[in-house]
Symmetry: none
Subunit: 200 residues, 4 copies
DNA sequence: CATGAATGAGAGTTCATTCAT
DNA sequence: GATGAATGAACTCTCATTCAT
């Protein structure tokens, strides 16, 4: 089992990083939120960057794990792809802070960004695998698999974030009601993007 | 005509901000890149934040202006929507640095982010207007206009950025060849998302 | 006649310096208050310091000139001394901002402070001359002339400033009513300080 | 016991602030004088202003504490008042730097000045209490207690500062010899100001 | 005489990181 | 394992002064 203190730090860090972004997040705030001394963080993590990377990997891993669960519930690639979209949107709504970091910190040339993108790549891989299987079974005719995966990922991401940040204050009940339109929107896009070859 | 020095600063700032993000960008670097003294920037802009907001507004305005040009070339909402997608992808490829900032700095609660999102909202508005007109003419059956606009915007954004940052080094010739698959991918998604109601 | 622009600058500078003190006063503010360009100030004055010294000299000179007028109205040294006190208090009330600078900028080792103190010394000289004449005529028995002059000057200064700054907002009517008690207070102190030798 | 480092900083700060005034004092200089890093000051004080206010409060508190000691040594209000004057002058001579700040930074509308004036008000209160008691016992006939307290405070302050800054260099032996005339001067003023009503 | 854009040295403040306890 | 006082490099922003027009 992971050390208890590390959990404390992780939980605090995800809040603070997501609230402020990597640069604006202060180790002081993380320490205070975790209820430990600042030195303690450095006892467990070499640097702010290492803490961040560990955190992001864990966050994306959760998304991946949930996605894997969803995949098992469906047989056909079509259903699986739709399930992935639904999962991603639900996950974003439930982890709005992480979602923001996913877009904010994913692009760039810094080490942490490259590492983070690699982890996101694992998730995109999952989508691509379903697509390839669908192509193989003749269920899809996707010509540009990586592009299509990115597009779906981006559509789902921005739909949720735009919704989250267009509200004055995040109202859990309200956002819950907003999920179905978002899911349906992306779902419809996905379905066309993969089905036939001579534009819908 | 705008003052020459301000142009110098603007051009330098877009480079530096895009390279490093808002927080990591240093006013010293912007000044050096612009070939002016640091104080000169502060003579023309009240703060780093004001410079950034001015810059982003100008950048998004360029995207909007180009989009308006494209819209004039087409009559039917369908063609107009596809033109908007194509325009956005081309614009991103040509202004990769701005594109990155568009996602990186758009979400958050800080003043500059709220202002920036408002400007992006102007662009989304453009998409939505085409959608509403298409709905009116019976060409589209879009149930959730804002969500669909966000999804298209997000799909086009992430497709390009993922491509740009998956390459070791940005190779202009290579990226030029990559445009058509990206355009086609999003175009297909768009076409389904708007055409008929009982999934494609 | 002094150049018109110089007057503009002088009048603006006294306001700004008195409002903010030497260090906090900005040449930009003075220029704006004077309605001239910043460069214009430097056309007429070598530096901020030179402007300040010129200004202070002029301010104290006004106090001295008024004092000289008052002195002419009275014959006996006793009446003259009391007139000086009354003059100083009235002058302070009417030029509260200058009064503040008089204490704020008078003590220190910087060139401008030394020069300023020298000018204030001219005013103290005036007091001392009356004292010496009073001593000669047997009207006073002042043992320590410079100390006594300083004490009177200090008493009058602090009484007014303490009053001015103890009020939430400076109310001209209110402060006008407060003059007599201040004058009487210092006047009584003065009278004893100079009359007999075995404590009053 | 207060933290050792804070003492280091306090002692250095009083030197530097008094030497240069609030605005000209540099945090770098204070840090160097204290033998700590600049960041260390900010670990203990939120800002330059907070450091200054803390310092001034402590300085005036010392004056107040000493004054309270002096008051205990005397019974009659007359003796007590004279003791206060003597104490103030001695204190100023021994703490010339603080004395200068007392006048330089006491008047103005900035937060630190208002707070500082409030602390000085505590000292003036002490004087006023003695005056009121003297009035009650019939020993004094002071009509304007606050004005008289201010006047005495101002007289004592300016007498010392004028003396300190009229010397080319501060010579401890010389200034020691100058104390009696200063004390006597103010003492005589005080005695009249409070004794009888029909001018001395 | 007058202007105001440009300058750059220098100020206060922040914060990731270290290390003696 | 854990602490938190101490650090100092680096940052944004200020403003007196200059000078070409």
């Amino acid at each position: 089992m992971r050390h208890e203190t590390v959990d404390l730090i992780f939980n605090a860090a995800i809040e603070v990083f997501a609230e402020s972004g990597f640069d604006q997040a202060k180790m002081d705030d993380i320490a205070r939120a975790a209820g430990v001394a600042k030195g303690t963080i450095y006892y467990h993590f070499r640097s702010k960057e290492e803490l961040f990377v560990g955190l992001m990997n864990e966050g994306v891993q959760k998304l991946i794990d949930r996605a894997r669960q969803y995949l098992k519930l469906h047989k056909s690639p079509t259903d699986q792809l739709l399930a992935l979209v639904e999962n991603q949107i639900h996950f974003y709504v439930q982890n709005g802070k992480l979602a923001k970091l996913l877009l904010n910190e994913a692009f760039g040339t810094k080490t942490r960004q490259v590492q983070f993108r690699r982890k996101i790549g694992e998730y995109l891989q999952l989508i691509e695998e379903v697509m390839i299987e669908g192509n193989r079974l003749g269920e899809f005719q996707i010509k540009h698999v990586p592009e299509t995966a990115s597009a779906i990922f981006g559509a789902a991401s921005v739909v949720v974030l735009q919704k989250l940040y267009s509200m004055e204050e995040v109202d859990p009940a309200r956002i819950e009601r907003d999920i179905p339109p978002m899911v349906e929107t992306v779902r419809r896009m996905v379905l066309c993007g993969i089905k036939d070859s001579t534009y819908c």
